[in-house]
């Protein structure tokens, strides 16, 4: 016989006190399966965990603590801990997904750096073309090139080629 746990919506969590287990209904549109797996994995050493899909949208998680004699308080604690773990796993996955491009770039740079300096063959095949790249702020220019004194024009308006006053 299933009973709701006090303070937790009955449509989300029900307990079977006789069997010492609790059922959680998890919306798989809010929590991806990977996050549910990650949270379930954390509890495998403390609980018997059973997953089921009662309908297309929801996944039912059944937790039964391995230690005998789980009462309502213990079951409520497990529900809270599982919910926290589930949220944490979902958020970690979201962060990993958002930063996937950066992670891949850093990893590929680290791997290429670990390969050591380029060989003569690499240099031979390297493209040393003269194509200029855009440098609107002049970052690639040398200090002298960027701040050298400009030639003052003569009285007639033509600049002195040697730069003398």
């Amino acid at each position: 016989m299933t009973t709701p746990l006090e303070g937790i919506p009955a449509e989300l969590v029900t307990a079977e006190l006789g069997a010492g287990s609790v059922h959680l209904r998890v919306d798989s549109q809010l929590y991806p399966l990977g996050a549910i797996y990650a949270a379930a994995y954390v509890f495998l050493d403390r609980c018997f965990v059973l997953l089921d899909r009662p309908d297309e949208r929801n996944i039912r998680v059944t937790l039964a603590p391995k230690k005998a004699g789980a009462d309502e308080t213990i079951l409520r604690t497990f529900v809270g801990e599982f919910s926290n773990e589930l949220l944490s796993a979902a958020w970690r996955r979201q962060i990993a997904q958002d930063n996937r491009a950066v992670i891949e770039m850093v990893t590929s740079q680290a791997i290429s750096a670990a390969m050591g300096p380029p060989s003569l063959d690499d240099l031979a095949s390297f493209d040393f073309g003269d194509e200029s790249f855009e440098d609107p702020l002049g970052i690639a220019m040398s200090w002298e090139e960027k701040y050298k004194k400009k030639d003052k024009p003569d009285a007639d308006g033509t600049p002195d080629p040697e730069g003398k006053p």
């Binding site: 994995y41 059973l50 089921d52 996955r93």
Partner: protein, 73 residues
């Protein structure tokens, strides 16, 4: 007899097979495939042992599935 219904989208068939092999010496098993579930029937002379083996088997199958699918990140 205890019947375990493991959803095919959530449990890998190879993981269920592996779990049954691990626990084969503790109880008798019958495997049935349904469209949506893997059905594992566990039989033992001792009812308490039967429940215990079924639960341990489900845990083992879930853990193996998660590791196979790279679910822990």
């Amino acid at each position: 007899m205890t019947e375990l219904r493991l959803h095919r989208e959530l449990y890998a068939g190879t993981a269920v097979d592996a779990a049954v092999k691990v626990y084969a010496r503790f109880a008798a098993f019958e495997l049935v495939e349904e469209a949506s579930h893997w059905i594992v029937r566990v039989s033992s002379k001792n009812a308490a042992r039967e429940t215990q083996v079924a639960r341990e088997l489900a845990n083992y199958a879930l853990g193996t599935t998660i590791r196979e699918r790279g679910g822990v990140q």
